[in-house]
Amino acid sequence: MVGPGECSGNGEAGLPSRRQLLRRGAALALAVPSAALLEACGGSSPSTGAGSSPASLAGTAVMENYPDWMGAHVVQDFQKLHPGSVIKQVSNSSSSISGTVQQLKTGDFDFGLADVSATEQAVDIGLVQPLDWSKIPNIKYVAQSFRTAYPHGIPTDYGKIGIGYRPDLVGEKITSWHDVWRLAPKFSGKIVFIDLDRDCMGSTLKYLGYSGNSTVPSQLTACKNALIQIKPHLQAFLGVNYGQGLQDGSTVIAMDYDYDVALNQQKQPKIEWVFPSEGMVAYLEGWIAVKSSKVVPLIESFMNFALEPKQYADFVNTTGTAYVEPAATPFIGKSISGSTILRPGKAIANVEFEHYLGPATALWTQIWDEVKAA
C-alpha cells in the first residue's frame, strides 16, 4: 500500500518489449515539458549529495535495462564523479517477467531493472545480491511504502491501472469497475481493455472483489467468466494507445494506465480518470543487484547517486514515469507533479502492487489464452 500524497507521475510495467517501447514513447511525450522545466531550474548538474563520496570506484557495472530508461545525465555525471567507473547499459531482448529473470540468470549482468514480480522470482532462485544499505543512505528519500513493497533493491517507478472515460458521452459518472461492466452493453464496441494478462486480469479480479494477485483457481475461473462476459462488448484488447480513442470519442471507456490518461487528457480535457472504488492494481519496479556481480560496491554507489533528489528528478523528467521519491518533487516538472491523475492523494491507498505468482503464472497464462480464444 502507498501512503497518501507520496507519489505521482506516469509509468510502465516490465512486459513485452515492443508494446513497452511504444508505451514508453507515450510516457516520454508527457515528459518533454518537464524536462525543459528541469533544465530551466538547472537540475541536471552533477551533485554529490548525501552519501555520495568522490572515492575511487574503478570498474565496469553492466546493467540490464529498458532502452533509455535512465536519467539523461545520471550515468555521465556519476562517471565524471568517479573516474574509472563505467556503467554500461544493455537493453534486453525480452522484458517480460520470465525474460528479465532469465537475462539476470545468464551472469552477463551486474544489476538490472526488474518489477516486483521479476524481483521476487529472482530472489526465490537465489539470484539477488542483498544490498548494504549503509552504502545507500539516499534510500531515505524514497517513501517508506515503496521501500516496504520493494525490499530487495531500490524502487524507481510505478504505475496504476484505472479507468479513463468521457463523461460527456457516457452521460453519467463512473466510479467503479462495476459501472464499466454494467455500462458495457449500452456502449458496446466503444470500450477498450489493456492487452496484458497481469493488468487486465488483475483489474477484473479487483472488480470481483478478489486480490489482484489471486492464485485461487475458482477466483481465476470467475475472472475468466467476467472477461468472457464483457468481451463481446469490447472494441479491443489494446497493447498500445489504449486511451487514444477517448480523444475523438470512438472509445468512451478505457481500462488504462494513469500516464496514458494524463497524456490524452492534455489533448482532450473532457477525459476523466477514475480511481475505481473496488481498488486498482499497479506495477512497481526498481533496480536489483545480481549475486554473481564482482562490483557490488560500485553498484551500491551508483544506486545511491541515482537516488539523490536532483538525479532522481532527472530520471523522472527524462522517462515521464510515476515517482517514488517525494523529496524530488521540487525538481520534477509540473506536468507530472501537478497532475491530479498522477497525484492521487488518499485514493492510492486502494492500490495493490502486482506480485510474483509462482507456479500459478502458467495458470494465469492459460486462462488469459482462454479469454482471448473465447
Binding site: L15, P16, S94, S96, I97, S98, G99, V101, Q102, K105, Q121, D124, I125, G189, D195, D197, K231, L234, Q235, A236, F237, L238, G239, G245, D248, S250, G358, P359, T361, A362, T365, Q366, D369, E370, K372, A373
Partner: protein, 297 residues
C-alpha cells in the same frame, strides 16, 4: 600410336579437370550448407529435443526427461480450436491471395516488357517499407471515421465497424501476402510462349477455353508455389492478428510466442511449434502428391 596416346592423355587431362571442377563445385556448397546446418538444422533439432522436456517455471531449469506430456496438452480444446482458427484464416488468406493474385499476374504477363517491369515494381515497392508500418496503416484506414468507414457511411449510411475483427485480420493478411502469390504465378505465366495462345486460337479455342486448357495448366506450378509461400507463413502469423484483431482473435502463433516470451516455458512452446511444423509438412506432402495428378489433367 602416338596420336592415340596423346588423345588418351588429353582425355585424361580433361577428365581430371572435370573432376577438379566438380570438387570445386562441391566446395562452393560448403558456406550454404554450413549456414543451413547452423541456423536451421541445429535449431530445429534443439527445438525438437526441448519439446520432450519439462521446465521448472520458477528456476527455468529444463529437465530432458523425454516426456510426451507437452504434446498431450496440445490436444486440449483451447489449442485445437486455436489451431483450427489459424488454419481457417490461413486458408482464407491463401484463397483470397490466389483469387486476386492470378488475374493480376496474368494481366502483368500480357503487357509489353517495359510495362511489365513498371507493374512488377508497383507490386514490390510496398515491401520496401516496414512490415509494422504497413500493418499499422490499416488501423488508420479501417478505424471508425477512417477513410474506409467514411466511404461506407457515405454509400450505405452505416458505419463499417470492421477494425479489430477477424475480417480486418483477413484483409491485413491478404494485403501483406499478396505479392508473394503474384510473383511465382507471374513467373509461370511469363514463360508461356505467345505461340501457344495463337495455336489455341487457330484450333478454335475461345479465350475462356484457352485460359482453361492452356494458360491455367501451365501456370499451375506457379500457383502451387504461391499457395505454399503464402499458406505456410500465414498459418503461423501472429503480428497481424495482434494489431488488426485487437487482441480478440487468438492464433496458434500468438500462443507459441506467449509460451516462449511471457511464460518462458520453452518445452511447451517447442512442442506447439513442432506440432505446427508437422501439420504443415503433412499438408505440403499431400499437396505434392496431388500436384502431378492435377497437372496431368
Amino acid at each position: 600410336m602416338q596420336a592415340a596416346t596423346a588423345l588418351r592423355g588429353r582425355k585424361a587431362d580433361s577428365g581430371q579437370a572435370a573432376g577438379t571442377g566438380r570438387r570445386l563445385g562441391h566446395l562452393l556448397v560448403i558456406p550454404t550448407a554450413a549456414w543451413t546446418l547452423a541456423f536451421f538444422v541445429i535449431p530445429l533439432v534443439l527445438i525438437t529435443v526441448f519439446s520432450f522436456g519439462t521446465e521448472n517455471l520458477v528456476t527455468f531449469n529444463v529437465n530432458f526427461g523425454w516426456t510426451v506430456s507437452n504434446y498431450a496438452s496440445f490436444g486440449s480444446d483451447l489449442y485445437l480450436t486455436t489451431l483450427l482458427r489459424s488454419l481457417a484464416l490461413s486458408l482464407g488468406t491463401t484463397t483470397a491471395c490466389a483469387l486476386l493474385g492470378f488475374p493480376l499476374a496474368f494481366f502483368i504477363s500480357r503487357q509489353r516488357p517495359r510495362t511489365q517491369r513498371v507493374l512488377l515494381a508497383c507490386v514490390i515497392v510496398p515491401f520496401w517499407t516496414s512490415f509494422l508500418v504497413r500493418t499499422y496503416s490499416w488501423v488508420n484506414l479501417l478505424q471508425t471515421d477512417g477513410p474506409a468507414d467514411r466511404l461506407a457511411f457515405g454509400i450505405t449510411g452505416h458505419h463499417l465497424q470492421i477494425l479489430y475483427s477477424p475480417a480486418s485480420i483477413a484483409i491485413g493478411m491478404t494485403y501483406s501476402y499478396l505479392p508473394l502469390m503474384v510473383l511465382p504465378i507471374y513467373v509461370a505465366l511469363e514463360r508461356i510462349s505467345p505461340d501457344l495462345y495463337a495455336a489455341a486460337a487457330d484450333l478454335g479455342a475461345r479465350p475462356w477455353r484457352q485460359f482453361r486448357r492452356v494458360v491455367f495448366p501451365l501456370a499451375l506450378p506457379g500457383l502451387i508455389a504461391g499457395i505454399i509461400i503464402v499458406g505456410v507463413p500465414a498459418m503461423g502469423e501472429y503480428v497481424i492478428p495482434e494489431i488488426l484483431g485487437g487482441g480478440k482473435t487468438l492464433m496458434i502463433g500468438n500462443i507459441i510466442v506467449g509460451q516462449y516470451l511471457d511464460v518462458g516455458d520453452y518445452p511447451f512452446g517447442s512442442a506447439l511449434a513442432v506440432s505446427l511444423m508437422v501439420i504443415l509438412m503433412a499438408m505440403l506432402f499431400a499437396l505434392r502428391r496431388v500436384q502431378p495428378v492435377v497437372e496431368a489433367r
